[in-house]
């Protein structure tokens, strides 16, 4: 670079000019077969992950009158409705605790799971304009969808704590295991979400499939009812539904000594964990291996 003269208005900035050859070297070529997980790159883009999640939260309740109150209203209205139908009318046994508490302890993880799975599977298609215009690790998109649900989860948790206090229920020491149960919900949602979001890019059928899937899944998970009403010989089937163990875990951890049905059975619980791990890893690999075609077919 030549020296720039002193004439005002004509001087050029040159702070980056003399950095010399540096920076990463990237090779672009056709790839085949399975891709790695690319977690390192994902870590570099963690701020984008945060910003996209933050955008989702910000935008979700814009131009609503009640705003964030909706996050709290939704579970409360569900609890009222379900308590009337299942608690009062059908008299579903609720394991020694009032039905609203029984229900909300299970709805808390379930709502997070259902909304995350739903958001994840629509996330790529919903952000098509980003995928075709900017490069970043595509995993950021479904993951940010999963993160944005944390706000709803936390607020619902507050409602549940209020409800527990109202009924005078103290959680047991199993409370400390909540993060483990939550991790299982998170990875179940993300694992299936990765599969569905990648499939959704090619087959929009996924859009129509997911609501039914969630409805069936909800009723095959002991949410409005307890595990006690399921005959023992069918209980092993439940193990393959990781949400069963999670829901039982949440109730066991939160409802303390009032809870009469006990925690999840260890053997079945381990099967659930293995299922989750397999789904998450295969989901991530499938996602990574198909992401190179996203921009072309979305």
């Amino acid at each position: 670079m030549r020296d720039r003269g002193p004439l005002p208005g004509f001087e050029a900035k040159r702070d980056n000019a003399s950095k010399g050859p540096s920076g990463p070297v990237s090779i672009i070529r056709p790839t085949r077969g399975l891709a790695g997980l690319g977690l390192g790159q994902l870590w570099e883009y963690r701020e984008l992950l945060y910003f996209l999640a933050w955008r989702d939260v910000k935008v979700r309740y814009k131009q609503t009158f009640l705003g964030v109150l909706w996050i709290v209203m939704q579970p409360i209205l569900t609890v009222v409705l379900f308590t009337l139908i299942f608690g009062k009318l059908l008299k579903v046994p609720s394991g020694g605790v009032p039905y609203p508490v029984f229900l909300l302890a299970a709805l808390l993880p379930w709502n997070y799971f259902a909304s995350t799975l739903n958001r994840c599977s629509n996330s790529l298609v919903g952000n098509a304009h980003l995928i075709t215009k900017v490069y970043f690790p595509r995993l950021v998109i479904p993951l940010s969808a999963a993160l944005s649900g944390l706000v709803d989860f936390s607020l619902t948790f507050l409602v549940l704590i209020g409800l527990l206090a109202y009924f005078g229920i103290w959680p047991s020491t199993g409370f400390l295991l909540l993060p483990v149960f939550f991790a299982i919900v998170f990875f179940t949602a993300v694992g299936f979400g990765l599969w569905l979001s990648a499939l959704n890019v090619r087959f929009r059928d996924v859009n129509y499939l997911v609501p039914f899937l969630l409805q069936i899944w909800m009723y095959s998970t002991p949410i409005v009812y307890g595990t006690s009403i399921i005959p023992d010989r069918f209980r092993w089937v439940l193990a393959f539904n990781p949400m069963t163990g999670v829901v039982e875990g949440f109730r066991w951890a939160l409802l303390g000594e009032h809870w009469t049905e006990g925690g999840p059975e260890t053997a079945l619980f381990l099967v659930s964990i293995v299922t989750v791990v397999i789904v998450t890893i295969t989901g991530a690999l499938f996602f990574r291996s198909t992401e190179r075609t996203f921009a072309d077919i979305i």
Binding site: G5, K13, K19, G23, I27, P30, E47, L48, Q63, I297
Partner: protein, 430 residues
């Protein structure tokens, strides 16, 4: 090797027609297609591997080039020539089908202005969101925030959702964020084609700064003036293939006159073309130095000649006058010069040659495009031919030599379409 920023070898991208390229034209077609599609899709699954009836198209094919660190290279070509595909591959949005590219340095790509802007979010929020999407860190955005706001001129509306912005404000904000990206390699696609003229000028200035900061830029545009004023070099893509790669001025002329002539010497009669009318036709034109050598580049201090041959097909009562139209790199008029009708140029049928000497110390440095015309004035004004952008010449100012001689030690850019050497007188008066 060390100063290569981008190296591309035999890059190719195959698209399946029907994947991206079909558009369903009417609602009726759509409904029909929708009704048929489950069966079609089933049948496709069935026939898969047996019969390949799908069509494929190479969006780009066998593209190889190298860009040095700090170079600013324009990419031009018609719609569908593969310019955007090339940028999409280099910015890793999509993968090539074959070939190889090596990129040294942090890449920022700007394929669209305002990617990821959310209409419900405020200007402030969108700056952060858009910045993060383009690859900036939060700390970086914090640091440049005020600069971005000032550049976009939206201080008052910072906390208004962008859906209430005028389209001009929206574009200004979007460009402002993008313009403050600081990657080592910047890939830009046609984003300056938006906004009002004043803002475009500002963006152009910003792009010029980026180039001066020593960053490598690949710049796609349809605006030839922008290409020639921003990029010393340019590449021309045609149907996915790289057909020209060299000086921007020459590449642009190749684009304008593909296959007809080279930019500094043009034969207007090849391929059976005929430029002109029943009175006169344009035959040939070229640029040469004072010794008669064909040139495409000239020293700012040296004069050069433009020669044009034309044929008169009828005897006319009054000789025509040739006129040359000079445009600067931005496509704006620099000046017009014409020979006059009393120069003794003939009225008889025959071939004529017009010669015009452009003196040294007249043009500024940069690229000039020259349009050639012949005008008759005996029955009102009649233009036999006017061939815009027929020739180009690149005027070079060798700063090392001219710094003291004509620049008085100032080495920065000097604006204006011309830079004539005028008579100056400076004396002490008191």
């Amino acid at each position: 090797m060390r100063d290569t920023a981008i190296r591309v070898e035999n890059l190719g991208k195959l698209y399946q027609i029907g994947q991206r390229l079909t558009r369903y034209e009417t609602l009726r077609d759509r409904i029909a297609l929708f009704a048929r599609s489950p069966f079609r899709n089933l049948r496709r699954l069935w026939t898969r591997g047996k019969k390949r009836e799908l069509e494929y198209i190479w969006a780009i094919k066998d593209v190889s080039f190298e860009v040095k660190r700090g170079e600013v290279v324009g990419i031009i070509g018609r719609n569908g020539a593969g310019k955007s595909t090339l940028l999409r591959i280099l910015s890793r949005i999509t993968e090539p089908t074959e070939g190889y590219a090596e990129i040294r340095g942090r890449v920022g790509s700007l394929l669209e202005v305002g990617t990821g802007f959310h209409p419900e979010l405020t200007g402030r929020e969108n700056i952060y969101l858009n910045g993060a999407i383009l690859g900036m860190k939060k700390a970086e955005i914090d640091r440049k925030f005020d600069e971005i706001v000032a550049f976009a001129e939206i201080e008052k509306f910072l906390d208004t959702p962008v859906k209430h912005y005028s389209s001009g404000m929206y574009v200004r904000l979007a460009f402002a964020v993008a313009a403050h990206l600081e990657p080592e390699i910047l890939l830009v696609d046609e984003v300056l084609a938006v906004g009002d003229a004043a803002f475009q000028k500002k963006c152009l200035g910003k792009m010029g700064d980026v180039a001066k900061e020593g960053r490598t830029v690949l710049f796609v545009s349809h605006n030839m003036g922008m290409i020639t004023s921003l990029c010393p070099k340019a590449m021309l893509l045609e149907e996915g293939r790289l057909v020209a790669n060299g000086l921007a001025s020459e590449t642009v002329l190749t684009y304008y006159n593909r296959g007809r002539f080279s930019p500094h010497a043009a034969d207007f009669t090849c391929n059976g073309q005929r430029i002109g009318d029943h009175l006169a036709t344009l035959l040939e034109a070229h640029i040469e130095d004072m010794d008669g050598n064909l040139i495409s580049e000239v020293d700012i201090r040296h004069p050069f000649k433009i020669k044009m041959r034309y044929a008169l097909h009828e005897k006319v009562p009054k000789p025509p006058y040739p006129n040359f139209h000079f445009f600067d790199a931005r496509g704006e008029y620099a000046f017009v010069s014409s020979g006059n009708t009393y120069m003794g140029s003939g009225t008889e049928v025959g071939t004529y040659e017009a010669e015009c000497i452009v003196p040294g110390y007249l043009l500024n440095n940069g690229v000039y495009f020259i349009g050639l015309a012949l005008t008759f004035t005996y029955q009102g004004i009649h233009v036999s031919f006017y061939e815009k952008d027929a020739l180009s010449v690149s005027v070079r100012d060798p700063i090392d030599e001219t710094l003291d001689e004509i620049r008085s030690g100032y080495s920065g850019p000097i604006p204006g379409p011309v830079r004539p050497k005028l008579d100056w007188r400076i004396e002490k008066v008191s």
